[in-house]
């Protein structure tokens, strides 16, 4: 009787402590956790926010997606080698031309999750839009687009200075950008490292650790991780007041979830919280897809002649004005 009771209790305990059902078919490290290691890409034409023309339409059928994907590729080819176009304007061309299409690698397809193509990376709020931003956040976001003064190198955007990749490619949250959307993950029981091809940003996630003291601030924040069943959960705080994610403040808090759903996919989900910037927390989701390596080096600072030209251009303008 007693034995039977203990056996039942044991079974109950197993039920209570058992993590989420273990996913089959995913590689695992010797300690039993899913192995996230490898080279991955998040390149996609799915935009962060759902375009107005697709309002109310969170997903696309494959046929609908193909129409848009083809149109998008055609338009890119059409704009190539010209000095203006929607893409070039967005990258600050203003009539001077910009990257040729061959230098872009922003993906050619919409992001596919649960077998269905998505029209926005944002899944919450359900309208696929960034929640209402505070006036201050709006100003910070606008300032990040215009780029500040040309008086000192330190006034230029972090990406122009080769300190961080642009467009939150390293994040967190990590977003796909125009090119170099490649990542390598290295994993040990104590640390997970995410090497970002753009500007060689390297995120180091300390496992089962406490956050650094509040006065320790880092460009990419302070990331600590733990396993929730088969999902790697990464909590990031301690950003600098110069790290900007769409007008966010130093108090930005990002919780990311990495789930290896099959041999070729990591489902990525990130919740963004910063009450001083956004009216409520919001969540993005998309897949990282296995890709052939290697990650190429990105010695950005050493060859950054553009920064010299940009400041030199401003000095020339001043000299001409004083003449």
């Amino acid at each position: 009787m007693c034995y039977r009771f203990l056996a039942s209790l044991g079974a109950l305990c197993v039920l209570l402590v058992a993590p989420m059902p273990a996913q089959t078919g995913v590689p695992r490290t010797p300690d039993g956790h899913p192995d996230l290691q490898g080279t991955w890409t998040n390149a996609t034409v799915t935009p962060l926010e759902r375009p107005a023309a697709l309002a109310g339409k969170a997903t696309l059928t494959d046929a609908e997606a193909r129409v848009l994907e083809t149109k998008s590729a055609d338009e890119l080819a059409e704009a190539d080698g010209k000095s203006e176009g929607p893409l070039l304007t967005a990258t600050g061309s203003a009539g001077t031309g910009g990257y040729n299409a061959l230098f872009l690698d922003r993906g050619s397809e919409f992001a596919r999750v649960d077998g269905v193509k998505r029209t926005s990376l944002i899944i919450d709020p359900p309208d696929g839009k960034v929640p209402r931003m505070s006036a201050d956040a709006g100003r910070r976001l606008a300032a990040s687009y215009t780029g500040g003064s040309f008086d000192s190198v330190k006034d230029r955007p972090l990406s122009e200075r080769c300190i961080l990749g642009f467009g939150s490619t390293a994040g967190p949250p990590m977003l796909p950008v125009l090119y170099n959307n490649n990542y390598q993950i290295v994993q040990t029981p104590d640390n997970v490292l995410i090497l970002v091809e753009m500007v060689h940003d390297a995120r180091i996630i300390r496992m089962n650790a406490q956050h650094a003291a509040p006065d320790v601030r880092q460009w990419l924040g302070d990331s600590v991780g733990h396993w929730d069943g088969d999902t790697l959960v990464v909590d990031t705080t301690n950003f600098t007041d110069r790290t900007r994610f769409r007008g966010s403040t130093a108090n930005l808090h990002v919780v990311e979830r990495f789930t290896r759903t099959d041999a070729g996919t990591i489902l990525y989900r990130a919740t963004i919280e910063d009450p001083a910037a956004f009216a409520k927390p919001w969540t993005i989701e998309y897949p990282f897809v296995a890709t052939k390596g290697p990650i190429y080096e990105y010695a950005c600072h050493e060859g950054n002649y553009s920064l010299v030209d940009i400041l030199g251009g401003a000095r020339k303008k001043e000299a001409d004005a004083g003449r």
Binding site: V45, P47, L48, A52, A53, L54, V67, L68, S72, D74, E75, A77, D80, G81, S83, P86, L87, A90, T91, G92, A94, G95, T96, G97, G98, N100, A101, L102, F103, L104, D105, R106, P157, S159, E160, C162, F166, G167, L175, P176, V177, L178, Y179, N180, N182, E197, Y296, Y298, A299, C300, G303, N304, Y305, S306, D309, I310, G312, G313, A314, K316
Partner: protein
Amino acid sequence: MKTKTFTVAACATLILGAAPAWAHHAFAAEFDAKRPVHLVGVVSKVELINPHAWIHVDVTGPDGKVTSWMVEAGSPNVLLRRGFTKATVAPGTPVVVEGYQSKDGSLRANGKDITLPDGRKLFLGSSGTGAPYDQKK
């Protein structure tokens, strides 16, 4: 059904525009839209470096004087992945460059368009480059 297809197709531009389009730097800050350049010359050196590749072009003027220009292109990592190497545009290759000169007046320009002797536009992905990436498509 036709109308629906049209609606979906019509908004490709919006998606393109709304994509995370953000470059390493704003081109208008470095180059001058009022100074278009048309360079006919010979490649002297290719720097496949980040954040931008630079192609050096020697241009011989009507007086026989040679000036050396540097032409800015995008990040080389994408090119490497598509099978391009420094040898793809070897020194000595004649090229024609359409672009805009830098604001500081130095002999630097961005390369909106670079044409090879056989008429291929080097950086036009749409023209078919022969690189593995294109052959795969």
